[in-house]
Amino acid sequence: MSKTAIISAKDVDVFYGEKQALNKINLDIPENKVTSLIGPSGCGKSTFLRSINRMNDLVDICRVEGSITIKGQDIYAPEVDVVALRAKVGMVFQKPNPFPKSIYENVAYGPKIHGLAKSKTDMDELVEWSLIKAGLWKEVKDRLDQPGTGLSGGQQQRLCIARTIAVKPQVVLMDEPCSALDPIATAIIEELIDELRNNFTIVIVTHSMQQAARVSQRTAFFHLGELVESGATKSIFTSPEDERTQNYIMGRIG
């Protein structure tokens, strides 16, 4: 399909035991753009997101069929190392989940395990770069040694974003990153997402259609395990082709 697609899903089925959560998903995700996945609860959008970095592997009964490729490489191929995959495809979770360590240690965690910094100065720079990118540097630069869990919810979530991008992934997956935050913290994160797409490809699951409209260039609408419609955010929101998409956007379902 499109040449700029960094992630490409073909006929993806996901099962939890007997239950089929996703049915024949075909979706291309363009590089350096924000793609939002929307749809009512239980529609499979989070499941799809978690298939992209194989976090679904952690669920024993989960089975993925079909193919998901990143830059042409099948991520479910037997020779693929999930550890390497997740270093390239980072994830930000619904609830801010900083480690009970200092702010510095939180950001340095990923680079340390992947050996990305050769010296203390390298690490300092990387931590600073990540915190600047995550829009948190000014607020925490004088208290890097304090626990990350002591920050406010919005700051914690930005810390988690800094921690994720410190590994320099190509793709950042966000699973409803603002659902636990107040409107002001949400606005800050949305602005941040818009800036981050210069460096990263972002896939975001959101329950808020306004958020999808504000932050994303591409939108995919999921319903009952199927991908109903995907395309440019503007056209999905102004002239949806499918009736179900229209109903959802108008607030008639979900």
């Binding site: 952690l58 550890v83 997740r86 390239k88 980072g90 990923g110 988690c160 921690r163 994720t164």
Partner: protein, 319 residues
């Protein structure tokens, strides 16, 4: 609609039940007071009898004396009729055996807890957990004769074959078996605290490309350390107070030694020895049991309080 014609509502008759409620509450309070009363009574009798002991033997001699031979005089004019009551060999013996036990139980208990909570499949978990619980259910007297009749002779034979002189009642045998006994205590408590580390922490680490073992080492265990420390303290307190194993396997010779191959004795074993058989109730020998009991009580109480406080504080962290 039926009620609407009566002008007043009967509020008085419910008083009848009030007496019954008070009665029930009274019974419940009484029952719970029994436990409190018994605890207070035991502590008081410990304190009182220990005080009587310290009237005869100075506290400093008891706590710092290195000779323990609580003889009863055969003749009134016998030299050293009252014996020697230096508790140091008993305390060091207790600590030596507990230390050996902890050396055995800490790695085994902790590592099996990590396996159970992080690696084990449901099936092997369902197999191993009950097995550990059975270990916890074995009566200590069985551990005791296992130590005395199986482990101790094995150690002795093993020692002989390499030219070591192992006493037939060695601290090592008692400590090893006691370690086995407290493994389930450590593993089940540690398993609980490791499980209490939120899945979100693991997800965050795994999601960043950390391997399973990196996640455990760098995220899960550091978060669980306070709880694990608490479980170790509880286990240590259990080891210090353990009686049957040491009575049967550690011996009664009050040697002041750090050599695990020699026989040592412990506070609990001595208390048993002091009070079994016919005793003169007010001799220093009998009373010394209360002093020893007091030492034991204070030690385990402090350990338990500290451990529970650590565990509780840790649990609050993630609520």
């Amino acid at each position: 609609m039926a009620n609407s014609d009566s002008a007043t509502i009967d509020l008085v008759h419910s008083q009848r039940k009030k007496g019954y409620e008070l009665f029930v509450m009274g019974v419940l309070i009484l029952c719970s007071l029994v436990a409190v009363a018994v605890t207070v009574g035991i502590v008081l009798s410990l304190l009182f009898e220990a005080f009587r002991f310290f009237e005869r033997i100075p506290l400093t001699e008891f706590l710092f004396g290195t000779q323990w031979s609580p003889q009863t005089a055969l003749r009134a004019d016998q030299v050293a009729a009252e014996g020697a009551f230096g508790a140091v060999p008993l305390i060091t013996g207790t600590l030596l055996i507990s230390f050996i036990a902890m050396c055995v139980a800490t790695p085994l208990g902790l590592l099996s807890a990590i396996y159970l909570s992080e690696y084990a499949s449901k099936r092997s978990r369902n197999l191993i957990k009950p097995a550990l619980e059975i270990l916890a259910g074995i009566p200590t007297v069985v551990y005791g004769f296992f130590a005395a009749l199986t482990v101790a002779p094995l150690l002795r034979a093993g020692g002989e074959s390499v030219g070591l002189d192992v006493s037939s009642e060695s601290a090592l045998a008692a400590g090893l078996v006691m370690g086995m006994m407290i493994i389930p205590l450590i593993s089940s408590l540690s398993d609980d605290v490791i499980n209490a580390v939120p899945q979100a922490m693991r997800d965050a680490s795994l999601g960043m490309g950390a391997t399973h073992s990196e996640t455990i080492r760098k995220v899960v265990l550091p978060s669980a350390v306070p709880g694990i420390a608490g479980s170790l303290l509880l286990a240590a307190s259990r080891a210090i107070g353990e009686t049957m194993i040491v009575v049967m396997a550690a011996g009664l010779a009050a040697n002041l030694t750090a050599n695990p191959l020699e026989a040592v004795t412990t506070i609990t074993a001595q208390i048993v020895a002091l009070l079994t058989g016919d005793q003169e109730f007010d001799s220093a020998k009998t009373l010394s049991a209360f002093a020893l009991g007091l030492v034991l009580f204070v030690t385990t109480l402090v350990l338990n309080v500290v451990a529970l406080r650590i565990v509780r504080k840790y649990q609050e962290q993630y609520d």
